[in-house]
Amino acid sequence: MTIREVMNIVEGKVLVGEDRLDTRVDTACGSDLMSDVLAFVKEKTVLITGLINPHVVRTSEMLDITCIVFSRGKMPSEEILEMADEIGITVLSSPMTTYTACGELYVHGLPGTKKKPAAEGV
């Protein structure tokens, strides 16, 4: 699925990354708990969250998350948007709740993430 399709499904608007809407995503994760995001997420993932602070972007950068969807129409600060744009993360805002946005993406064929396997040798 492309980020453009994600945007249409969650009825979202682009806050940054208009030029990256054709990037592909393979999985999605809905969480306000960045600790869990760090433990579960793989690359090419969309993160759907109602949490708004710079750590959402930092966490996403560490995991190579491609797209963040802020649910319930929440608007992040300019600082957060600039950080995301600099890293190349597309940011969308959706009027849906996290639950609904996740549900819509799931029924449209975007699967969830699974816990990461241990590194070799562990």
């Binding site: 600790s35 760090l38 930092r58 241990a118 070799e120 040798g121």
Partner: protein
């Protein structure tokens, strides 16, 4: 073993606003060295977790990045307060994080187990009143 790179990053206790800056720098540095995306992600996640731990739990410390042709090593060394029960701290879901950390989306008790999961080798040494040292290496 030839050391390609060694860098120290001081991490301040309670500095929630800047937490993660060292990890961002480390990730960008390693990316320039051309290490694989998968290894880079593992190092980055473990690095961010350990940096957050220094901010949330420690009285301050230093994060050291060491790169050789064989592996990337991250060493987190703090000046206290030390962990009374390491086994408990290594249990998923156990956390002593403050409300402030939880408000930011952390403190789920996933940090140490997640570091261990991502690192090739993981070692933690701690003494109450002295400090904690975590050493993680990632095979290249």
């Amino acid at each position: 073993m030839a050391v390609l790179l060694e860098k120290n990053f001081p991490v301040e206790a309670g500095a929630y606003t800047t937490a993660g800056e060292a990890s961002t720098t480390i990730k960008r540095t390693l990316k320039q060295l051309g290490i694989s995306a998968e290894t880079l992600r593992r190092v980055s996640v473990a690095c961010y977790e350990v940096e957050l731990n220094l901010v949330i739990h420690s009285l301050g410390g230093t994060l050291t990045l060491l790169v050789t042709p064989e592996k990337v090593t991250l060493i987190s060394k703090d000046v206290g307060p030390g962990i009374p029960d390491i086994d408990k701290a290594m249990t998923e879901g156990y956390s002593t994080a403050s409300d402030e950390a939880r408000t930011l989306g952390f403190g789920a008790g996933m940090g140490l187990p997640n570091m261990k999961r991502n690192a090739t080798e993981f070692d933690i040494q701690s003494e109450v009143g002295v400090g904690t040292t975590i050493t993680m290496s990632f095979a290249l």
